[in-house]
């Protein structure tokens, strides 16, 4: 079980009631510990919902977000420790549990530091001010004569006159109201009277060297992650999926598993699963159970017809973004029009372990354990599905395998809940590999057409970029309602699809029109190709096309690729990342493919740049292409990254490095395979990802720190530049332009000139 002390214990253990901070202007307040336990009492506008001081003077930060093991936790700790002038070792975080943290949206959209950290910073600043006021009263010294060192307030010049945070309020709760913007989720913000420190006062922010808390225990095998949780009396569940997507159970032969001890089959509407006391028995029973499935019409096109299908499919929604320029007039006046098309396949989240969820459903309450990144949404979904008040559903977060948007976790918890409700015992569900890769949410496949109008001098007059593909939110981005889960869909909950794919970020200064057409799913209910968020949703697809096209335009206008960006980008931060990356990679100005050789292999460099929210990133990929085997190896990446204020540089580097490797995997190796009946990518052989032999030798990252700006998201921005940079580098190395992901040897061979 998690080592986290829950808030109830924390309060109970303090041996006191919650006592107000007795300050002028603040009302006295006493509450019983129990009232803190439910969401109603866990108020977003109370400082105590975010920060508390323990009896030993250490500090606990409470956050309704979760760290997907990229060090966000350390970012929060540094932010809190900085404002409170505490050593970071004496600050700990509680993340995500619905009874202990306010709904701040979980891990979502790289907002952990940007939004979550913002709220915590304001709360911590307010906590410090409150403590200083208390210290001033206690010591009888005006506040402006006080200083804080390591959580001890003392009179400047008289270190003997001191009082610690712990002595002032340890074990009790702040009773301080914050200004709350009345939003939940990612949008929640709070602020108090206090102004956070200015960057010039920072002692910890932006400095390297803070160790993550979860690493050592993972190495010693002493960590408890989601898959390790055991609940007394827990049964093991498995859910059966049909051989043809869309088929539903028609009959079940329970006697086919009667030789396996303790198996119980659960069949409700189109949901069919089973439980057994031992996991191995549940696995065997799921293999052995005889189910007759309906004769469903195979729902999918042949794989090679996917992009044709997208091109011809009915548009459910068009999103359009036009800037001020007159695009039609520019095309009418153009001396030349350059046009190319690009395609991106379905990708599987393919988390390293198939998701695990545990549910203990009682008549009027529920406890759920999830490794998913949005515990508060998990609570909402379970509450609606089983008609429970939200405050009767307790969701406990314990880290699952790396999740980058919407993996299969929400399905596993709902499956566990359905099974637990049916059998009246706690149930743990963890699928097999084919349940994970085969049936997890997919990132959407899409096609892109890009056109540019060029005048007689080679100047780009206008750009028209069209995206068409599946929704990145077909069944939303979280499990906050039953129809967003496989179990809910199998149990006939009305579908509420969201049609959204996206357009490239705003960057270039030419007149442009960007449209995004979202099409409907291939199978609308319980589809193994249902599409949702996967790290920078829509970003890699769209920017693969747009940034490949910028290189093609550079070539068409006889311009070096770096020079092309510098010519058409205007914002100084954009220009700086491009200039920096070019310099760090020793970029040599050139036009077109150089086809350089190093020994037996072709080598090339390729650039891509993008903006994501308030983050800018430019990357140069250096590839080797083997003309005999057609293997593409990205030997080195050079990256310039500007996400505003840098909180924890070493962790930021690792986050960038890992997302570059992950997106390299997607660009070079990954494609969900399917036939007309079902997804056929069901394991690591049929869904290969990057192997360590294909990992780059180096990823050189330059962080452009802007302490005067707020910190922006950094967990996803670099995902969107990787594929285009690699494609552009392959072109430089070989003169082969790949306009379709992944860049497999077969595809390269077919296109070789």
């Amino acid at each position: 079980m998690s080592l986290q002390m829950n808030r109830r214990d924390f309060l109970a253990g303090s041996g006191t009631l919650v006592v107000s901070v007795m300050l002028p202007g603040l009302s006295a307040h006493a509450a019983t510990p129990g009232t803190q336990a439910s969401r109603m009492a866990l108020k977003p506008d109370q400082l105590s919902s975010y920060i508390s001081v323990n009896r030993d003077g250490s500090v606990t930060g409470w956050v309704g977000k979760v760290d997907m093991a990229q060090g966000t936790e350390i970012g929060w700790i540094k932010i809190i420790a900085e404002e409170l002038d505490m050593p970071p070792e004496r600050v700990r975080m509680v993340q995500g549990n619905t009874e202990e943290t306010v709904d701040q949206g979980g891990a979502s959209g790289s907002t952990g530091i940007w939004r979550g950290g913002h709220a915590l910073r304001n709360a911590a600043a307010e906590a410090r001010l409150t403590l200083m006021e208390m210290g001033a009263a206690k010591l009888g010294v005006p506040i402006d004569q006080l200083e804080v060192n390591d959580g001890v307030i003392s009179q400047r010049g008289k270190p003997g006159r001191k009082v610690s945070y712990g002595e002032l309020i340890g074990g009790r709760q702040f009773d301080v109201q914050l200004e709350w913007n009345k939003e939940y989720g990612n949008d929640l913000l709070v602020k108090g009277r206090a102004k956070p420190k200015s960057p010039s006062e920072y002692k910890q922010i932006g400095k390297p060297g803070t160790r993550r808390r979860d690493v050592a225990e993972k190495l010693y095998g002493t960590a408890t992650v989601m898959a390790d949780i055991k609940v007394p009396g827990m049964l093991h569940g498995r859910v059966l999926r049909p051989p043809v997507a869309g088929a539903v159970p028609v009959s079940v032969d329970n006697t086919s598993v009667k030789d396996i001890p303790g198996v119980r089959v659960v069949w409700q509407k189109n949901f069919i699963g089973l439980v057994a006391p031992k996991q191995w028995d549940a696995i065997r029973a799921a293999r052995q159970l005889k189910v007759v499935w309906s004769a469903a019409t195979p729902p999918f096109p042949e794989q090679q017809d996917l992009y044709k299908h997208i091109a011809g499919a009915k548009v459910m929604k068009r999103d359009e973004e036009v800037n001020s320029g007159d695009v039609d007039a520019a095309f009418a006046a153009a001396a030349r029009v350059v046009e190319y098309s690009y395609a991106w396949p379905f990708h599987s989240h393919a988390s390293l372990s198939p998701a695990c969820g545990i549910a203990d459903m009682r008549a009027d309450s529920a406890t759920v354990w999830t490794g998913g990144q949005k515990p508060h949404h998990c609570r909402e979904g379970i509450a609606i599905m089983f008609n429970l008040p939200e405050d009767k559903v307790k969701v406990i977060y314990t880290p699952g395998p790396g999740s980058y948007g919407r993996n299969d976790s929400g399905d596993a918890t709902m499956d566990a809940a359905v099974l637990s409700k049916a059998v009246g015992e706690p149930v743990r569900v963890q699928g097999m590999r084919h349940d994970g890769t085969g049936w997890d949410p997919k990132s959407p496949a899409s096609i892109h057409r890009s056109r540019a109008a060029i005048d007689k001098d080679g100047k780009v007059l206008a750009w028209h970029f069209e995206t068409k593909g599946f929704s990145r939110r077909e069944f939303f981005r979280d499990e906050g309602s039953p129809e967003r889960t496989l179990a809910g869909q199998l149990m006939d909950w009305p579908l509420k699809p969201v049609w959204l794919l996206g357009v490239p970020g705003e960057s270039y200064s030419f007149a442009r029109r960007k449209t995004s057409d979202t099409i409907g799913p291939l199978l609308d209910r319980a589809s193994p190709l249902r599409s949702s968020h996967f790290r920078d949703p829509g970003g890699p697809q769209i920017h693969f096309a747009s940034e490949s096209f910028m290189d093609e335009l550079a070539l068409a206008t006889n311009t070096d690729a770096v020079e092309f960006r510098l010519r058409y980008l205007k914002e100084p931060r954009d220009l700086e990342v491009v200039r920096t990356v070019a310099e760090k990679a020793s970029w040599q100005s050139h036009v077109g493919a150089r086809k350089q050789m190093r020994g037996e292999v072709h080598t090339g460099q390729g650039l891509a740049y993008a903006v994501r929210g308030a983050t800018r990133v430019a990357v140069i990929a250096e590839v080797e292409v083997n003309p005999k085997t057609y293997r593409v190896w990205v030997r080195r990446y050079v990256i310039a990254h500007d996400c505003g204020q840098v909180i924890a540089p070493d962790l930021l580097r690792q986050t960038i490095e890992a997302q570059v490797v992950q997106t390299t995997s997607r660009a070079v190796f990954e494609e969900v395979k399917f036939d007309q009946r079902n997804v056929t990518s069901v394991d690591w052989l049929s869904y290969p990802i990057l192997d360590i032999k294909d990992a780059p030798e180096a990823i050189d990252i330059t962080l452009i720190d802007r302490p005067e700006m707020p910190p922006a998201g950094a967990g996803e921005a670099t995902c969107r530049v990787v594929a285009a940079a690699v494609a552009n580098a392959i072109f430089d190395a070989t003169a082969v332009r790949l306009r379709q992901v992944p860049f497999t040897p077969e595809r390269l061979k077919a296109a070789w000139v």
Partner: protein, 153 residues
């Protein structure tokens, strides 16, 4: 039908009663309550379940419990501890390698075996030894850095 099997895990004797076909992984996780070997694929394709059998890396998801016999099983927790870390564990901590860490057993246990046979591997030998292991989070570069660090320790 279920049978009784004696297992030697991290130097201690254990007995489990299980279907002979049940993979060792489930005996370690479910019967002995160990956390370290993880389920990733059950198909010997990822390495998340790796243990050492008499010093050699083995994928416990694909070794029937009946096939273990007298072999000494070593798990991640069996190679070292916070008090006495193995140099590979220490190096992985120093490099802050894991993200989710669900993949870690494969990388660490295979690296331990590699360094036993070849204490100073080249980059290429490291990649060769670790090929086939999976990490979805993309921590590969820090893994290579950590193995090199361990080799220098």
């Amino acid at each position: 039908m279920a049978k009784r099997f004696n297992l030697n895990v991290n130097g201690r004797a254990h007995a489990v009663t299980a279907d002979p076909e049940m993979p060792l992984l489930y005996a370690l996780r479910d019967d002995l309550g160990m956390h370290e070997p993880r389920f990733g694929c059950g198909l010997a394709q990822c390495g998340a379940c790796t243990v050492l059998l008499d010093g050699n890396p083995a994928r416990s998801c694909s070794v029937p419990v009946s096939a273990v016999g007298a072999a000494k099983v070593t798990t991640l927790a069996g190679i070292g501890s916070a008090q006495k870390p193995h140099k590979v564990q220490a190096a992985f901590i120093e490099e802050q390698v894991p993200q989710c860490g669900y993949c870690l057993n494969g990388w660490v246990m295979t690296s331990v075996a590699l360094l036993e046979k070849n204490p100073h591997p080249s980059d290429e030998q490291i990649r060769d030894a670790l090929t086939g292991l999976k990490c979805r989070c993309g921590t590969h570069l820090s893994i290579i850095r950590a193995v090199k660090r361990a080799a220098q320790a």
